[in-house]
């Protein structure tokens, strides 16, 4: 029975890697080359179906969808990675000490974090961006703040568990200072929990980012993003379904790829996926 478990993990990892690989490849290619300029409009090539010239057709402004998709993947990857980085920093700086010291500091920090989590995430991000003005960097920090408490929780619960282990007690008796205990003794052991949470965080952040772009509050036109491409083409979707299909596929590939990889790297976590 052990076998089925290991195999399913490997299958998840490989499938996830392939799906994610497609988007990452698009991102890498877009850095150096796109078949057409993604933002140049051309009235002569409006709403052309996919062909050898335009692999994924053209949109209502005559822009090459393939080029726009390549360039959109760039923003999706950039925003999700930098947003997660910010959230990780917030989570580390709050969740680790909250879990380690416990008591009052834990109560205060977690009350603050839980209060932030009481705002529906997408609402918070939307309003933050609306108030600060829609731009890519505002999206990044808004998402970072919205996701910070989630990571704080992961760090805290992991720390709570590890700080009771004998090796941490040893370190305390030896007189190692708390900051070093957290950084050198606890932090490395949190990796098995942080890593899947990070990958899931990337996926969830992309869900938010695409929804924000869809509402026009993400990456600003004329730059392409998957969400904006979808909302722009909604009016033409019965006439030109390729406008919907390709961006939607890329978006789902990215998110699904990340989910699968997180499922694949989940270590010794009995929740989820285990076949007994």
């Amino acid at each position: 029975m052990n076998r089925r478990y290991i195999d399913s993990r490997r299958i998840f990892f490989i499938t996830g890697g392939i799906l994610l690989g497609i988007v990452i490849l698009a991102f890498l290619v877009s850095l150096f080359w796109t078949p057409y300029d993604p933002n140049t409009t051309n009235a002569a090539t409006r709403l052309l179906p996919p062909s050898a010239e335009h692999l994924m057709g053209t949109d209502n402004f005559g822009r090459d969808v393939f080029s726009r998709i390549l360039s959109a993947s760039k923003y999706t990857i950039f925003i999700s990675f930098s947003g997660v980085a910010i959230a990780l920093v917030i989570g580390t700086l709050t969740g680790l000490p909250a879990g380690y010291f416990g008591g009052i500091s834990d109560r205060v920090i977690m009350l603050l974090m839980n209060s932030v989590m009481c705002f529906p995430g997408i609402l918070l991000a939307l309003v933050a961006v609306a108030v600060a003005g829609p731009s890519m960097f505002n999206v990044v920090w808004a998402l970072g703040i919205v996701f910070g408490p989630t990571f704080a929780r992961v760090y805290r619960s992991g720390t709570l568990e590890i700080k009771e282990r004998d090796y941490i007690l040893h370190a305390r008796v030896m007189g190692v200072n708390p900051v070093r205990i957290m950084a050198a003794h606890i932090f490395p052991n949190l990796m098995s929990q942080i890593l899947p949470a990070t990958v899931i965080g990337l996926a969830n952040m992309t869900l938010f980012e695409s929804a924000m772009s869809y509402l026009g509050l993400g990456v600003q036109p004329p730059e392409a993003s998957f969400g904006k491409m979808l909302s722009d083409s909604q009016a033409y979707m019965t006439r030109a379904p390729w406008l919907i299909i390709f961006p939607a596929l890329m978006l789902v590939f990215y998110i699904l790829g990340l989910y699968f990889i997180s499922e694949g790297i989940r270590v010794n976590n009995s929740r989820g996926g285990i076949v007994r």
Partner: protein, 321 residues
């Protein structure tokens, strides 16, 4: 016996105090966020052509010239009495605007929640009974894939499918609940399904692993050794024990659903809170935005509180020390 009651009462009291503190924190954060940013309500209401004197007059009228803490407390007091101020863009009271748009958002959330519970529980139960069998594998793979589709993408696909395959118009169709309740529910069904589907997958995944864990637990083995049948064990032991952790997950799912409905109603062009929010954002209508945020956060806080209470009722280990 008295000892038991004491610890139970203390638990609920502590939770109640925490609830009040959270409510205060949430309201304070909302207020603070809108106080830091430049541009105030008065100049938004009067538009760019207003003279400074006009703006100053209106500021006084709205109380914007007073110290911030006075503003905060009068705002908070208003919030408690249902008076969230006047919308700068619509010129109507914020509470009234929210009340008008609430049925759509709330209706979709409730329908989606029902779908989540009704679909995820039975499938998880079947999957967990024979993990690794065909039925389980189909459910699991489906769950993984659906989990990853953003609700608005799903909505677009659904609109595309219904219109091209069945020739149905699903966008922009809306009946007020006061006119015809059933057709109101009818036009919310598809949007609700689009929000619910990823959440069904998520809840299924969680329930499945919890139930598998429960099925393999020591107390279930004890129940088997007492001669109980599988079905009895599921209803007496597996389901109640899974519910303990599922309540929290479902409360998180519901708050996600609430957020998701803001977006999906935009796709289906329904007159709910989502559209109100976007109008508020576009017109920089801060009283409206702060009122809406406070209102939705309140709902979420109460939701989490309710989940905590339900969990404590379900699990004696929490309420009785």
């Amino acid at each position: 016996m008295r000892g038991k009651n004491n610890s139970t009462i203390r638990y609920f009291l502590v939770r109640l105090i925490e609830l009040l503190i959270t409510l205060l924190l949430v309201s304070f954060m909302t207020f603070a966020a809108f106080s830091i940013i430049p541009g105030d309500a008065a100049s938004v209401i009067l538009g760019p052509d207003a003279t400074p004197a006009q703006v100053e007059n209106l500021r006084q009228e709205l109380g914007l010239d007073k110290p911030l803490y006075v503003q905060y407390f009068s705002w908070l007091l208003g919030a408690f009495t249902g008076n969230l101020g006047k919308s700068a863009a619509f010129g109507v009271s914020v509470s009234e605007l929210i009340a008008q748009r609430l049925p759509v958002t709330l209706g979709m959330s409730v329908i989606a929640l029902i779908m989540v519970v009704v679909i995820s529980y039975p499938t998880a139960l079947i999957s967990a009974r024979r993990p690794g069998r065909l039925a389980d594998q189909i459910c699991s793979v489906l769950g993984h894939v659906l989990f990853a589709i953003p609700p608005f993408v799903l909505s677009l696909v659904m609109i595309l499918l219904t219109s091209s395959l069945f020739g149905l118009v699903t966008v922009g169709r809306y009946t007020k609940p006061s006119e015809n309740f059933f057709s109101f529910v009818g036009c919310l069904l598809l949007p609700s399904f689009c929000i619910a589907l990823p959440k069904i997958a998520m809840t299924f995944k969680f329930l499945r692993s919890t139930m598998i864990e429960q099925n393999a637990s020591d107390h279930v083995r004890t129940a088997k050794s007492h001669g109980l049948s599988d079905l009895m064990i599921e209803f007496r032991h597996v389901l109640p024990n899974s519910n303990v952790s599922a309540i929290t997950v479902i409360s998180l799912v519901l708050s996600d659903i609430l957020g998701g409905s803001l977006i999906v109603e935009q796709v289906f062009n329904l007159p709910g809170l989502g559209r109100l929010l976007l109008t508020g954002i576009a017109r920089r209508d801060f009283p409206l935005l702060s009122g809406m945020i406070l209102y939705l956060a309140l709902i979420t806080v109460l939701l989490y509180f309710l989940a905590d209470i339900l969990t404590a009722i379900a699990d004696p280990r929490i309420r009785i020390k």
